[in-house]
């Protein structure tokens, strides 16, 4: 069971990192973008989003700075660190392998 939770948590981290790989973004925007990119399938709960951002920052995968939005509002922007970008690449690979493996198993039945 613990394993499963780790996987799920890992997938949220992965999605966040992926979102940030396109451009720096604030928390609300990350949520919105995930929703758009997943065509509404994935909805990130704010209760998980901010702790996840905090966690990632603590791991040094992302960093945050205060910036201004298009309509001149102060917001905290998160951006990928180089190590974050590296981890993202690794994770995407491992996720693909996992998904492919899973798909193969599911197709064969």
């Amino acid at each position: 069971m613990a394993r499963k939770q780790d996987d799920l948590r890992g997938s949220l981290d992965l999605v966040i990192l992926k979102t940030l790989s396109l451009a720096p973004m604030h928390g609300w925007g990350i949520g919105q973008r995930i929703r758009q990119m997943s065509a509404g399938v994935l909805a990130v709960n704010q209760g998980s989003l901010y702790p996840a951002l905090q966690r990632l920052e603590k791991q040094g995968l992302i960093r945050s700075d205060w910036g201004t939005t298009d309509n001149h509002r102060r917001a905290r922007y998160y951006r990928l660190t180089p190590s974050g970008r590296r981890v993202l690449g690794d994770e995407i690979d491992s996720w693909r392998r996992f998904a492919e493996g899973l798909g193969a198993v599911l197709r064969s039945t």
Binding site: G27, N45, Q46, G47, P51, L61, A75, R76
Partner: protein, 887 residues
């Protein structure tokens, strides 16, 4: 590289805590703003609703901050501090206000009730080893309910013969004329035997109390021990008062001691004099065994139970019955705990009120628990997130207990404030001076009670909301994370159950309120047969002149009082003036032992009678002034004097009882206190009621000019408002004889009203409890119904879309509310039936199964339910199916 960023993040958290907090705030606020804008833009929701929804979706801001912080892992101790800070800082003023108000009210009222309960029933009487003090009473074998004091010879035999008691003392309480220290005044004086002080464990603050040799029949014992208050009043608290002389009962008495403050036993005494003094009581008292005038108090040794003491006293009483059959054949003795004897019926009344306060307190706790469960459900996501992030159960528990305790403390502080305001306010309903031991206050014990109730409540609240959180529903909550209404079935079920309990508790309280209110109304309707309106009462005490005989004193007083009457009669606006030693309402509690009355023909006391017996020495026109008609015979007249045969007027019931069918007129009766005078019955009056709560009684009236009448109550009938006459009446009375002491001057109406003060006090408390209960319950109902409507918004939308009319929706909601109320009401009524016996002592001519009360309480609850459900129902009927479904 990576560790640099990580370190930066960590350092920032550690070093710039406050700043980090603010940034979290700002970040979250930004999130809410954006979400609101999105809702307005995309969903077309109006801005305020959008704001609300954004907030609801986001959950508690603090919660997320906590969740974010939890990722950092602070030490346990700093965590505790944080819990306290969080609880204090949490921006939930409405919630805090509600909780504080509810806890404050219910805790405060419970504290008030405790202060009463403690004073009357719990806290030890302020005497040494008070649980071993007993009172000893006599009663007639045929009337065991009617307890009286002892005759002096009997008391002295008890003192000599009884084995099972380690000390015994007797007293007689009287008003004593005190002169020479400022204007003359009447002082409540206990004429007591020397043992009284040692037995109660009271030490004088100055001088001494009586010595054993100051206990000799007829001794020249002109000594007085002053109460602290009288010492302050009459002597300015001067320390050289010992050895000074003070004029009491017309004779100089030597002050030998001063007792400590707040000691006023017995009968709120202000001064104590030796019982055996030749100036205390008349000689007949030392001789006659059928004058049951003396209060007796005794102490039992630690190894002697009440039952053993009773058995010992029974043996003594039996010996006396054999030795003195003429007087003691039917005399029995009863030993009772001092507290029980002093408290009497008051005890069960206070218990009833306390039981009601306990119910109210429970109601308050249930209500607050309901609030906490509601909030807990709202915070389910926070907790789920915390748990998912690995928050320890211990931490969660600590947080809830801390929070519960903090709210408990808030409520407790509010409660003490409520009690501090309410207790003095209650004294406004107490027109008499309570004995010191009975005075209820916000003292250490009461505050200790409030404090422990506070802590207990806090713990219960904390653990309740925790227990709610600890339910294994994490997955559910996380899954529902994005939906506005996070609450699921169990929470609303629990809240409904709590509301049912609330309704039940308030139904039980309302029944109590209804019963007491109806009792008070009944008391107000009692036809006492006495006219009190337009009558002013002025109490006047005659002075005492030394070395005058009984006859001289009676004649002196009769003359003085007649002069006063004539002077009052000349005042403008005065219609009629009369007077009597004892009058209804004012002297209702002073009853005589029935067996002090004899009829000459039968020479037997009216022992079969169990009600109250009252005597009064009156002036002519007493009955006319009070609107009591003469049924037969004639009124008292000024021509009845010491030189003419003594006369008496009896009430109809008294005549029937004592003369057993023979016509009372012309019969002769003897009254125990004046055993040598047979009075002839000259008139018959109807039965009157001296106190609204009496179940009848018998009355005998004698002539003030023929029997001792030291204190008279003038009854001044006027066509105007009697209160306007008070000043001129007082001035007139004082001008006739400055040695006569004019006491209270007050309208008779007022006295009759005050006679019911106790009943009014209890009813008032019940009314307060009932009102608060209704408010609490309607708030609880409203909250649970509003919540239900929110939760079922989607369902209502669907129904509306499917063609349900608004009135269908309203009916659905109302039905739901009515269901809760109905279950609660049935439970409450059953509870009220079961606890009715607690109320018995508070009721008057109202059955504890009173149909009117039991049928009107459900109506009240129905109305309350309707009001509480109206707004939620209306809101439900207005649900826009489009919005409801889109959400």
């Amino acid at each position: 590289m990576r560790w640099v960023y990580a370190a930066r993040a960590r350092l920032r958290l550690l070093l710039f805590r406050e700043e980090v907090e603010q940034r979290l705030d700002e970040e979250f606020r930004f999130h809410l703003d954006m979400e609101t804008e999105r809702l307005v833009r995309d969903a077309g929701v109006d801005p305020r609703e959008a704001r609300r929804r954004a907030r609801a979706t986001f959950g508690g801001v603090e919660a997320h901050k906590g969740a974010v912080r939890d990722g950092r892992g602070w030490a346990w101790l700093s965590g505790l501090g944080r819990d306290v800070r969080d609880s204090v800082r949490s921006p939930r003023p409405l919630f805090a206000l509600l909780v504080t108000a509810m806890l404050g009210l219910s805790l405060g009222l419970a504290t008030v009730a405790f202060s009463l309960f403690d004073a009357i029933l719990l806290r030890p009487l302020p005497y040494a080893d008070s649980d071993r003090l007993v009172r000893v009473f006599t009663f007639n074998r045929d009337a065991p309910q009617s307890l009286h004091g002892a005759s002096l010879p009997d008391f002295e035999d008890w003192q000599r013969q009884v084995q099972g008691l380690s000390g015994i003392a007797a007293w007689v309480s009287m008003q004593t004329h005190l002169a020479g220290r400022g204007p003359a005044r009447m002082v409540r004086t206990a004429f007591a035997t020397p043992q009284l002080f040692d037995m109660l464990g009271v030490r004088p603050v100055l001088g001494r109390t009586f010595r054993d040799d100051e206990n000799v029949h007829g001794g020249d014992l002109r000594k007085v021990v002053l109460g602290y208050g009288l010492w302050q009043d009459a002597f300015g608290g001067s320390p050289d008062v010992i050895g000074r002389e003070v004029q009491m009962r017309g004779r100089p008495h030597e002050v030998i001691g001063v007792l400590p403050p707040r000691f006023d036993y017995p009968d709120r005494a202000q001064a104590w004099m030796p019982l055996m003094s030749r100036y205390a009581v008349t000689e007949v008292w030392w001789e006659r065994r059928d004058l049951y005038m003396h209060g007796v108090i005794a102490r039992r040794p630690p190894d002697v139970t009440i039952a053993q003491a009773q058995a010992d006293m029974d043996a003594v009483a039996r010996r006396l019955a054999e030795e003195y059959p003429a007087t003691n054949r039917d005399t029995r003795v009863r030993v009772r705990h001092l507290r029980e004897a002093e408290v009497g019926q008051l005890g069960s009344r206070v218990s009833g009120v306390t039981a009601a306060a306990v119910l109210l307190f429970l109601l308050g706790c249930v209500n607050v628990s309901g609030l906490f469960v509601a909030r807990a459900a709202g915070r389910a996501q926070e907790v789920a997130v915390r748990t998912a992030l690995g928050a320890e159960p211990g931490h969660l528990m600590r947080r809830h207990v801390v929070e519960g305790l903090l709210y408990g403390l808030l409520g407790g502080a509010a409660g003490v404030a409520v009690a501090a305001a309410a207790i003095p306010a209650l004294y406004a309903l107490v027109p008499v001076d309570l004995p010191a031991w009975m005075q209820f206050r916000l003292d250490r014990r009461t505050i200790a009670f409030a404090a422990s109730a506070t802590v207990g409540t806090g713990l219960v609240i904390g653990t309740t909301s925790l227990a709610w959180h600890m339910r294994p529903r994490l997955a559910d909550v996380l899954r529902q994370g994005d939906k506005g209404g996070l609450e699921t079935g169990p929470s609303s079920r629990l809240r409904r159950q709590l509301t049912v309990v609330q309704v039940a508790l308030s139904v039980a309280l309302l029944v109590g309120t209804g019963l007491t209110v109806r009792s008070l109304l009944r008391l107000g309707q009692v036809d006492t047969g006495i006219r009190t309106d337009g009558v002013l009462v002025a109490s006047v005490a005659g002075d005492v002149v030394p070395s005058s005989t009984r006859e001289e004193t009676i004649a002196r007083h009769a003359r003085g009082f007649r002069q006063m009457r004539d002077a009052l009669g000349m005042l403008p606006g005065v219609h009629a003036v009369t007077a009597a030693t004892r009058i209804p309402f004012l002297n209702a509690a002073e009853e005589r032992p029935v067996y002090e009355l004899y009829s000459r023909q039968r020479d037997t006391p009216a022992t079969a009678y169990r009600g109250a017996l009252r005597t009064s020495n009156a002036m002519p026109d007493y009955f006319g002034t009070l609107g009591v008609p003469m049924l037969d015979g004639r009124d008292l007249a000024d021509t009845d004097t010491l030189e003419t045969p003594p006369v008496a007027i009896v009430s109809r019931r008294a005549g029937e009882l004592l003369f057993q069918g023979e016509h009372p007129l012309g019969q002769q009766i003897r009254w125990g206190v004046d055993p040598y005078f047979w009075a002839t019955v000259i008139g018959i009056v109807p039965n009157t009621t001296w106190h609204q709560a009496d179940d009848g009684g018998i009355e005998f009236y004698f002539h003030h000019g023929q029997f001792p009448a030291e204190t008279m109550r003038f009854l001044i009938s006027t066509r105007n408002d009697p209160a306007l006459l008070a000043t001129s009446v007082r001035r007139t009375l004082e001008s006739v004889d400055p040695n006569f002491v004019v006491e209270r001057v007050v309208p008779f109406d007022r006295i009759a009203y005050e006679a019911l003060w106790q009943r009014r006090l209890w009813t008032f408390l019940f009314l307060v409890f009932g009102t608060v209960a209704v408010v609490f319950t309607s708030a609880g109902l409203f909250a649970v119904m509003s919540y239900l409507v929110t939760q079922r918004t989607r369902e209502f939308g669907v129904r509306t879309a499917l063609g349900a009319t608004p009135s269908d929706i309203v009916a659905t909601v109302l039905r739901h509310g009515a269901g809760i109320a109905a279950v609660g009401t049935v439970g409450g009524l059953l509870g009220a039936l079961a606890m009715g016996s607690y109320l018995e002592a508070l009721l008057f001519r109202v059955s504890r199964f009173d149909l009117v009360t039991f049928s009107s309480v459900p109506i009240v609850i129905g109305v309350v339910t309707l009001i509480a459900c109206a707004l939620p129902a209306w809101r439900a009927s207005r649900v826009d199916p489009l919005i409801a479904l889109r959400d």
